[in-house]
């Protein structure tokens, strides 16, 4: 039996600011992981990554990141590296954690 597919999101860094961004279901880049499109099949994931990666004049380094799905059906990071990317550094209140629109509801 094939192993269950770990759900994924497409993520990258913004070309101008360098900050972490995610691709949503309308093929737009958004700042919050909770707004990202959740991809539950390999083909779908690769297809969206291919579309996202074409945005070369606004993003850098698109890739697929593993997520878990919380009770509200929203994606949350599966790995601590991705968790840090949703927040910013732990030594100062800088980066994503300062943006209210990225706070979880």
């Amino acid at each position: 039996m094939a192993r269950a597919f770990t759900p994924k999101v497409v993520t990258a860094n913004d070309l101008l600011e360098g900050d972490v961004i995610y691709f949503n279901a309308n093929n737009k880049w958004v700042r919050a992981l909770s707004d990202a499109a959740i991809l539950t099949e390999l083909e779908e994931a690769n297809a969206l990554l291919a579309i996202a990666a074409k945005d070369i004049d606004s993003i850098v380094g698109a890739y697929l990141a593993d997520v878990k799905i919380d009770n509200a059906g929203k994606p949350v990071p599966a790995h601590f590296r991705e968790e840090f990317r949703t927040k910013g550094p732990s030594n100062y209140f800088h980066g994503k954690q300062t943006e209210s629109n990225t706070q979880k509801a």
């Binding site: 860094n13 070309l15 101008l16 600011e17 360098g18 900050d19 972490v20 070369i56 004049d57 850098v60 380094g61 599966a78 790995h79 601590f80 590296r81 840090f84 990317r85 910013g88 550094p89 732990s90 030594n91 100062y92 800088h94 980066g95 994503k96």
Partner: protein, 553 residues
């Protein structure tokens, strides 16, 4: 202080303008990221976890107040009001925006600074002893030699695409504070039996995935031969270094796989050829540079008031005990300013702190500032009578922490709080260690100890040469910390030995407490340092403290 000549200035400005054009082309889409990345890296611009990071070189760790003020200005105008001083005598800005970077580079050029060759497979910023020109044990100031190497290596056409990055460090003292044996080339200024000045050349040192202590390739190199000899080493490396595997591409692997004897033969042979091409003897070139490093005019005046002030203020005495190093002139002192406040981020300084240090350097240290690879700042020429006043001013901005060389004076790389290559965080670990041992009030009892933390195997935090080294890893999706013991980064360089299985972030601090408690218990007397106790007794008692369960079994 070395001043850029017209050639340097033109070169740096031309590079800034080129980069401005490249950024514009990237932003309008005519350059892809694959095309742009090597260009931005050549100018010190990385893309990290949360933002871009700009790495600015501070050649051989020497700054003056004008440069420091400009670094503060850049931090305020284009970043978040602070900078991070690294283990390679660079400063890193963690939050610049791509479109602003050409302007930042222009602002740097205004004070003779740049970010060139702080990345990529070229010869990187040349580092040196942070006490250069001031230390009591110094044979000679290593900075003129370092400056010559900066000029030689900057934009050297043959060495822009080496198999891998290449780091050079120079020391002018027998007590090696520049970790020369952990560099691709380490240079020690020495004198031979006849009293002639020369260099001992060490090659193939390095930390990272495969750590090696550098080996002596030439015991005594006359000063006139420095550039042709280094050119010869670089050529041998450039041709024979492995380009097939990133992890085997550093010169340390070439030296290890080929053997130092064979390398020596190849270098010496090539050197004879190179010697013909270099017309000016290197010592004459160094002498010409020496004019820029004329020692400041120190005043001949007895020390007044320091003893009395220390009697009145025990905190000042403690500061003098830990943060002061012997100057070559007895009435003077080298004052280290700790960038390791208890619970703070190692190596960070706010723009306000930078400006204060610039003011204090002008007022008390002949306008000289140094950056150490241990992520502290130094005022190298302070008259001892000025120490009480200096101390009071440092205190106003939290810069008077008396902990140089103690348990809270930790080297920590940025780790996964910033670095895209990291496998775990290092800053919170440093913060926890310094907070905890401060709570326990054990710092002074523990005495001299070096704890060094890296957030991945690349070892920017020098963990292999920490008396206690900590390496952060990703173990099945959880941050895990491996401990090495007995490392030493001095002239007696030793690579630390792995103690055993790693610890989770929660287990790490209790394990370190057990380790330190065991040391306090088994040391011969209060003067026996952690490292010496380890050398005397070996790993067993320390291992038993780290892993009590297995020791009982």
């Amino acid at each position: 202080m070395y001043l850029y000549n017209e050639f340097d200035d033109k070169f740096v400005r031309a590079r800034v303008n080129q980069f401005r054009g490249q950024v514009e082309k990237r932003l309008d889409g005519s350059l892809t990221e694959d095309e742009f990345k090597p260009l931005r890296l050549m100018n010190g611009l990385y893309l990290q976890l949360h933002a871009y990071m700009l790495r600015v070189a501070i050649p051989y760790g020497t700054l003056d107040s004008a440069k420091m003020r400009q670094l503060a200005f850049i931090a305020d105008k284009w970043d978040k009001g602070y900078g991070h001083f690294t283990t390679r005598q660079n400063i890193q800005y963690n939050w610049p925006k791509l479109k602003d970077v050409p302007e930042i580079l222009d602002a740097l050029a205004d004070v003779g600074m740049h970010a060139i060759q702080t990345s990529g497979n070229c010869i990187r910023n040349v580092t040196s002893d942070h006490f250069a020109g001031a230390a009591a044990d110094e044979i000679e100031d290593p900075r003129p030699t370092s400056e010559l190497l900066r000029q030689w290596s900057t934009d050297h056409p043959e060495f822009q695409f080496l198999p891998r990055k290449f780091k050079i460090a120079v020391t002018g003292s027998p007590n090696d504070r520049a970790v020369t044996k952990a560099h691709d080339i380490g240079i020690r200024m020495i004198r031979n039996d006849a009293g002639e000045a020369g260099y001992e050349i060490i090659v193939g040192g390095g930390l990272g995935r495969s750590p090696f202590v550098g080996k002596v390739v030439r015991e005594f190199l006359p000063r006139e031969d420095l550039l042709p000899y280094l050119e010869a080493i670089l050529q041998v490396y450039n041709l024979s270094g492995r380009r097939d595997n990133k992890y085997k591409a550093r010169i340390k692997i070439l030296v290890h796989e080929t053997g130092i004897e064979e390398i020596k033969v190849a270098v010496e042979k090539n050197f004879l050829t190179q010697k013909k091409y270099f017309q000016a003897p290197s010592d004459a070139l160094v002498s010409a540079i020496e004019d820029y490093f004329i020692p400041p005019k120190l005043i001949d005046e007895d020390v007044k008031g320091l003893e009395e002030a220390m009697l009145k203020n025990p905190a000042l005495r403690s500061f003098v005990d830990t943060n002061i190093e012997e100057h070559r002139v007895p009435e003077y002192a080298i004052v280290s300013i700790s960038l390791k406040p208890i619970g703070g981020t190692p190596g960070d300084a706010t723009s306000e702190q930078m400006r204060l240090i610039a003011d204090l350097a002008e007022k008390y240290s002949h306008d000289e500032i140094r950056i150490s690879h241990e992520q502290n700042l130094i005022l190298p020429h302070v008259h001892k009578s000025d120490i009480p006043a200096l101390y009071d001013e440092l205190k106003t901005l939290g810069l008077a922490t008396a902990n140089i060389g103690l348990v809270s004076d930790i080297i920590a790389c940025p780790g996964m709080d910033y670095c895209a290559l990291a496998t775990a965080r290092s800053i919170p670990i440093a913060q926890e260690i310094s907070t905890r041992f401060n709570e326990l009030k054990l710092e002074h009892e523990i005495g001299k100890i070096k704890i060094k933390i890296s957030g991945c195997i690349n070892a920017c935090g020098h963990h292999h040469v920490g008396h206690i080294g900590i390496l952060g890893l990703d173990k099945a999706g959880i941050e895990n910390y491996q401990i090495t013991l007995g490392g030493d980064g001095t002239q007696n360089m030793t690579i630390g030995e792995r103690a055993g299985p790693g610890f989770s972030a929660e287990e790490l601090m209790p394990a370190l407490e057990r380790l330190i408690a065991a040391y306090l218990d088994i040391r011969e007397n209060d003067d026996e340092t952690f490292l010496n106790t380890y050398r005397r007794l070996g790993q067993a008692p320390f291992k038993a403290a780290l892993y009590p369960e297995t020791a009982d079994a």
